[in-house]
């Protein structure tokens, strides 16, 4: 009986929306924008991926086709890697455009990734892009508001609310029906974007996408939009008029989706300031100066190392060592400088993560931030994906440089070192680079705050509706009695 009443009210709500030409027009608009966004994003992602793959192949070929070379020359020749976007970047590009896309790997130093898309575009990019994720997280909530702000209040204004109550529907059933009806309309609006996304992800055109990630995205946006449906019906049930419910809901949308992200970011920046690049480079230089200088033969660290090698091989001078001393110095120098730079880099990333955590706390206020955070995590386009690329590229760099140093130590004689060459066959034996995206489980586990924020976003309005249930009849009577 209870369910039947709720379903009846839901059908009534859907019918009311269908009769409203304005809402139907908006529904068409939202769906059209969503589909355009999906197709546009797919096209963009595919052409970027194609280019990246082409140039990565070219760089790899250039590496293998190097002539006979001294390994230290190869260390300076270096290697170029490109950040691969996650397959789901077409749905939610995350921070992709704002981070570097290519990274030059060479000996002695850690470079930073360059050629971020945003630096080559215009300031217009600051307004954001119409991505499928933006359609779902920014525009759809507004549509939900427009479709549902009058759900309860219009019944009250027309006096039909009292009629419904008189016919035996309980306030809880009415509210549940209104939620279901508005939810059905919201689902209808979100469905085309969702289906198009699933179709593209399933076709494999953007790379392999695990079903788990797609299901995760569906769950996140379903929860996020469900929260908006609940809040909309709640506002409609406790505001005196449809007009004031609409004003309130739009104010809430502006506060949560437009103002809160920037406020959050500015608070994060103020609480955990990051150094400028100049300061950061300076810190790295200072840290490097504190330890050995491999180019200075009088440096105490390298003198001790030399004595240790001489003692180990029981010889009197580095010329008599069975290994190439120049290569050993190069290897140890690389180990030290890499460690220091990695430490500094970790500090920096830690600072960035502290900022991101502040933003996660802001997610408790703004579900938009929480949903965006989770959406980036599941799509594999969040800040940790950029950091994973950096860390993996650095590990790859260190591996290649030390392999080259080992070749220097074992294959090149100390005497007349610089004049010798290593056969080009060696170059093909080096591993190639591929980005391994961070596992989705780990990125989600680090986002418990956003997960709970999204849960609260559903629970709090539910609680509100529970409380409004008691007032519903009273407000209705007061209104009609006045």
């Amino acid at each position: 009986m209870g369910l039947r009443n709720a379903l009846l009210v839901a059908r009534r709500q859907v019918g009311a929306v269908r009769e409203d030409r304005y809402v139907v027009f908006l529904l068409g608009l939202v769906i059209a924008l969503g589909v355009v966004a999906v197709l546009g994003a797919r096209h963009h992602a595919a052409s970027e991926a194609e280019q990246r793959a082409r140039y990565q192949a070219m760089v790899e070929r250039q590496w293998v086709e190097q002539p006979d070379r001294h390994p230290h020359r190869v260390i300076h020749y270096g290697f170029l890697v490109f950040r691969e976007e996650a397959p789901l970047a077409f749905f939610d590009p995350g921070v992709g455009a704002w981070a570097g896309t290519s990274l030059f790997l060479e000996g002695h130093r850690q470079n930073t990734a360059n050629f971020g898309e945003a630096r080559h575009a215009t300031g217009m990019l600051r307004f954001g892009r119409l991505t499928p994720a933006a359609v779902l997280s920014l525009l759809l909530p507004l549509f939900v508001v427009v479709a549902g702000f009058a759900s309860v209040s219009a019944e009250r204004e027309r006096g039909t609310l009292r009629l419904l109550l008189a016919q035996g529907a309980t306030p809880a059933q009415i509210l549940a029906g209104k939620v279901l009806g508005t939810g059905a309309v919201a689902a209808l609006a979100a469905l085309p974007v969702g289906l198009a996304t699933v179709a593209i992800a399933g076709s494999g055109a953007v790379g392999p996408v695990s079903a788990g990630r797609v299901a995760g995205l569906a769950a996140i946006y379903a929860a996020y939009l469900a929260g908006w449906v609940l809040v909309t019906v709640l506002a409609s049930s406790f505001r005196a008029s449809s007009r004031s419910a609409l004003a309130l809901l739009i104010a809430v949308w502006v506060a949560l989706c437009v103002a809160a992200p920037r406020l959050g970011a500015s608070v994060a920046g103020a609480l955990h300031p990051l150094p400028s690049r100049a300061e950061f480079t300076h810190q790295v230089e200072l840290a490097m100066n504190e330890v050995g200088d491999s180019h200075n033969p009088q440096d105490p660290f390298f003198r001790a190392l030399r004595d240790e090698y001489l003692a180990r091989y029981e010889v009197a001078s580095v010329e008599e060592l069975p290994v190439n001393w120049g290569g050993v110095v190069s290897r140890e120098g690389e180990a030290i400088s890499s460690r220091i730079q990695e430490e500094q880099q970790r500090d920096l990333v830690e600072g960035q993560r502290r900022q991101d955590r502040v933003l996660s706390w802001t997610g408790l206020i703004s579900p938009y931030l929480a949903a965006r955070d989770l959406s980036m995590a599941v799509s594999g386009t969040g800040p940790e994906a950029v950091e994973a690329f950096r860390a993996q590229a650095e590990a790859h760099r260190y591996d290649i440089i030390q392999r080259l140093n080992d070749l220097h130590i074992n294959e090149i004689r100390y005497e007349n070192d610089r004049a010798q060459r290593l056969s080009r066959e060696h170059w093909a034996e080096f591993p190639t680079f591929g980005t391994r995206p961070p596992p989705v489980g780990g990125t989600l586990a680090a986002r418990s705050l956003s997960l709970s924020a999204l849960t609260l976003w559903i629970l709090l309005p539910l609680l509100g509706l529970g409380l409004a249930r008691g007032r519903l009849a009273r407000v209705g009577v007061e209104r009609s009695g006045s």
């Binding site: 304005y22 546009g40 096209h43 963009h44 280019q51 990246r52 140039y55 070219m58 760089v59 250039q62 170029l80 921070v95 455009a97 896309t101 290519s102 930073t112 360059n114 050629f115 971020g116 898309e117 080559h120 575009a121 215009t122 300031g123 217009m124 990019l125 307004f127 119409l130 920014l138 507004l142 427009v146 449809s242 007009r243 609409l246 004003a247 502006v254 437009v258 103002a259 920037r262 406020l263 959050g264 970011a265 500015s266 920046g269 300031p273 990051l274 150094p275 400028s276 690049r277 100049a278 300061e279 300076h282 180019h295 200075n296 920096l348 960035q352 900022q355 991101d356 933003l359 800040p383």
Partner: protein
Amino acid sequence: MTARTVIRNEWRLLMADRPLRIALGLFALLLVYALANGVVWTRFQERTVEVAQIGNVERAQALVRELADIENGAEPASRFSDPRLPNVLGGARGRHTAVLTPGPLTALAVGQSDLLPYYYDVNIYTNESSFHQNGEVESPLNLMVGRFDLAFVVVYLLPLLVLALSFNVLSEEREQGTLALTLSQPVSARGIVAAKLAFRALLVVGMVLTVSLAGILVAGDLGDPGRVLLWCAAVVAYALFWFVLAAWVNSLRRSSAWNATVLVGAWLVLVVVLPAAINIAAGLLHPLPSRVQMVTAQREASNEAVNQRSELLARYLEDHPEMAEGVVADEPGLGALAWAATDAVNRRLEEVTAEHDARRAEQIALVRRYRFLSPALLAQEVLIDAAGTGDARFAAFQSQVRVFAERWREFFVPAILASEQMNAGVLSDVPRFRLADEASADVVRRAGVPLAVLIGLLGLVGAGAGVGLGRVRGAD
């Protein structure tokens, strides 16, 4: 009705409306917070610039001391960093940091200044690829979100306040039944709406301009009246655009609720949807030339160059006879050979970059046409250009650094080619970067176009409102 009566009545009415009172107070708070945020950012940039300039002085002083010690018989620490070598003195050790001081009104609009580099280390090895290697270490998430500055409050939030204040400016009179009464007096609907909106506009624009001027006094430069006027003009034109849009919608004689829905829809389309749609459409219709192509071209060039150094040197000396003085062509030093290879890579890079930049400029010009579709995009452009944080100022800085790097090379390269050593005496003649900042007349000329279009839009909507209000009768 005198203007004073209207204003007094309107003030009483506004203050009687509690939500509006809250909205106005909140807006004032947000303005002040946004300004504080911008001031903090300006201070950060000023400090960074100052540290860079101190670094320039300190590096030079350290080199002078070291050169003096060597002259007095001390050994250089290592033969790789001997400051007498021109490729060391003009290289990383003796580098000069060229800085762009924060735009005069950065505190009001952070604009592109958190994304584009405002300082470059220049040495003899500076080339086109150096311009891509100065990414700030800012968190990409914060870059994506953007700053909470006055420009943001003006472009995004001010329209909403304007609409909240004026969506029912006429419809309410009708709904309360007072319109017929008012119009029976010797006043027109046009006059009433104009007076009411003028009062509200004074209030809102007054708040924004007061905070802006306070910001300019605290952290900016009042000595640049062109920029300040441009800023104020953009704020006024943009705010008035939304006021006259509200007046126009009111003149259509629909209900207050209808007005509110349509106006919020207009805000959503013009401020949120259209810019986002333009960004995605621009990417599809005018894709930017590939950035990775540039990187790979650079590597190819350096590959080729290293293998044919002596050939390159001969060609270089032919092309630059002014640099050749003192070079022994038969037996060039290692430095000269290395320089020839470096130079060949630079030339190749310049070719690739010039091609890339030309295509990019073309595409950006195409994309920028679309900004005429949205007053928000126009206002944003004028505001950040006035602040000195727009794309153009950074591009100008970069091309000045390019010229400076050329001067730097001209100073050191002849000595490299001749395998000469340098001494402390030359340090006072080493080129120093002097920023030739854009004149405010240039800024006004450049930002004049979008501002004129914005004012044109304002005029168009204003005319529509005027005509529509002329038709309003008390009997409606």
